[in-house]
Symmetry: C2
Subunit: 428 residues, 2 copies
Amino acid sequence: MTEATEVGSTSGPGRTAGSDVAFLTDFAALSAFGVTDRGGVHRETATDADAAQRAWFGRWLADRGFAVAYDRVGNQFGLLERTPGAPWVLVGSHLDSQPFAGRFDGAYGVLAAAHAADRLARRRGTGANLAVVNWLNEEGSRFEPSMMGSAVFAGGLDREAALDTRDGAGVRLGDRLAELGQLGDDDVLTLDDVAGYAEIHIEQGRELEDAGRTVGLVEATWAARKYDLTVTGEQSHTGSTVMADRRDALLGASELVVLARELTERLSTADSPLHTSVSRLTVAPNSPVTVAREVRMNLDLRSPDEDLLERADTLLHERIPAISEHARVEVGVSGSHAWGVRPFPAAGVALARRCAEDLGLSHRTMLTIAGHDSVNLNAHVPTIMLFVPSEQGISHNERESTADDDVCAGVDLLTAVLDRLAAGDPVR
Amino acid sequence: MTEATEVGSTSGPGRTAGSDVAFLTDFAALSAFGVTDRGGVHRETATDADAAQRAWFGRWLADRGFAVAYDRVGNQFGLLERTPGAPWVLVGSHLDSQPFAGRFDGAYGVLAAAHAADRLARRRGTGANLAVVNWLNEEGSRFEPSMMGSAVFAGGLDREAALDTRDGAGVRLGDRLAELGQLGDDDVLTLDDVAGYAEIHIEQGRELEDAGRTVGLVEATWAARKYDLTVTGEQSHTGSTVMADRRDALLGASELVVLARELTERLSTADSPLHTSVSRLTVAPNSPVTVAREVRMNLDLRSPDEDLLERADTLLHERIPAISEHARVEVGVSGSHAWGVRPFPAAGVALARRCAEDLGLSHRTMLTIAGHDSVNLNAHVPTIMLFVPSEQGISHNERESTADDDVCAGVDLLTAVLDRLAAGDPVR
């Protein structure tokens, strides 16, 4: 960024070196909310840090002429009505974070959306109305499930059930949002108002970096199966109980964690990868001298290959009885979520590709492994999902990073995509 | 208990069917503090239930002429000074419980001690002074370490360090005890005042039941090595992170749990058993979509065979590097406690055997696998440790039980042992 050149006039709408600086400056301000000692952010849903950031973001939008409002589940909208009665094009992501996470996940996409809409507004164009959205609770670490606000908006989750969710300390989400003054009393927008949705996000993997490309055009979501497991044993004394008498829920749970990794090692190939994980596990009573009576845990399987996922699911269920017998525990399995490979509209990918080429940005089509709010919208409205690179693929980590050039290129691409969506270019 | 027969006059001091009823009635009252839906107790240290029970027990003692006081770490004493200036014989156990645990563990021994001392007092005998003690925090589930109050009394743990301990919610033990009015401002008794210590406890195993004996005369404690482990990985996204890039602390921890059990399966024999366990394990950040960056866990090895324990320790340490490499984690191991096979004085065992035989109680010598407050006292003063059977060996469980006849026989035995200790019979 050595001088202010008006590249926007030919290669895209409204980009200047000055707009890059404006974005990076705003992003630095945004990253101060919940900042950690090591430069990450710790900003779970409806914490003080999250609430303060939403308030800041609301003021940012209002200062630029957006009408700002929370809907009845706490999604935050900034509306720019350019043509009364015209459809709305929605663009956004989420500002909440995982615990001790990175600055870019979600927050980048929300600020990029706000800057893109603001750039279009400054051009005083017509076409569809523009709505920026900061979805409530995409991360799901404090209040489950994840992607909550967009799921309610898209009709996949009951609003009251979402507001009734409680965190580990028993705090009810709806009460907390009301206390913060971040829960509205109408819908702001409904699905029927929305003509299209766009979202940009960091990749959270290293495919773009490895391939040396600047932007990713997301064609589909990996298939996933997510399970909630309950392992039930029986409390006993860790010292005096004869080993053969033990019914150790933590032993059973640990064997399940090891099994999840073994599934990857047995089934995954370069062409058909399988990702598995157990990342949440709680032990009761979790005392130093009492054998665990119960462990609750998650277990996820993800793959771009639905047949492979089916085989992994089968093998998982085949292996559970041996674990159950060895540890003398009961293993309860419930499927909390499952989805197949879900394509984004091909016309939307083509639209994004044209924009990338106009801007001279190297690109590739790819899949998203992580879930995003766009996945909820994609089931109902024309949706475009874009990626910028994550350095070394690191995410959900304080070291998460994306180069400034990539950050700014992504905002340009989103602006161009939003411009065409608002102009009514076909997405499907 | 069909009629009131005076068996105490010949076979032991002061037992009557009436005294059995009195004990069982008091024990029922004691078991109401922190009672659970399934008939167990949930009465961790310095909870409301624990505090209410201590208050009740203090009134019980005071009503019978004991001088009641808390020492400077919150141990509760009831003193019966029969001969001013004479040494004190101490008898007791602990009233706190594990979460959702049984009625007998600890509480039985405290009430048995109080009844035994009261029976002797009613006989208006002379000899040593009698002190009943309810040790603070034997269980260590809320505030670590376990056996805290007796460790401070015996000089093995710094009093201020103990009071500075905080529970999972950040509550400081010393503050909580002061708030409850259960922290004294002097020592009440010191180790130098004590001529001998006796404790009775449920076995928590099934050796007595399997052998058909009523009481156990404890000759020694199993050797033990207790470790605190910290497994360090790195946060990343559970979906999008390539499997080969993951540094999954929960995978490493789970492999350690499985290893602990494998040590038993490889090394334990009928003659030289090895008990192993991991029972406390906490995951950070414990989110559904973030690979764990850190797991903290305990790991215990126990055996009556010190050589076997040494081999188990060696094998554990030999196997850790492979786990560390496979899960790409660092494993930090610190030894929190370790002790060898610790004998109780043979003269004390012989004294207890004579008492059991005088009472016509079947008995056997045995080891204790679980730690008890007596282990702390045994290092410094003549100490006698007694067991009554645990039905099916079940303990740290709401179903923990001991038959009424065994319960009452144990009180008789403790009374007889206390009588001889107070009379100055040699223990070592």
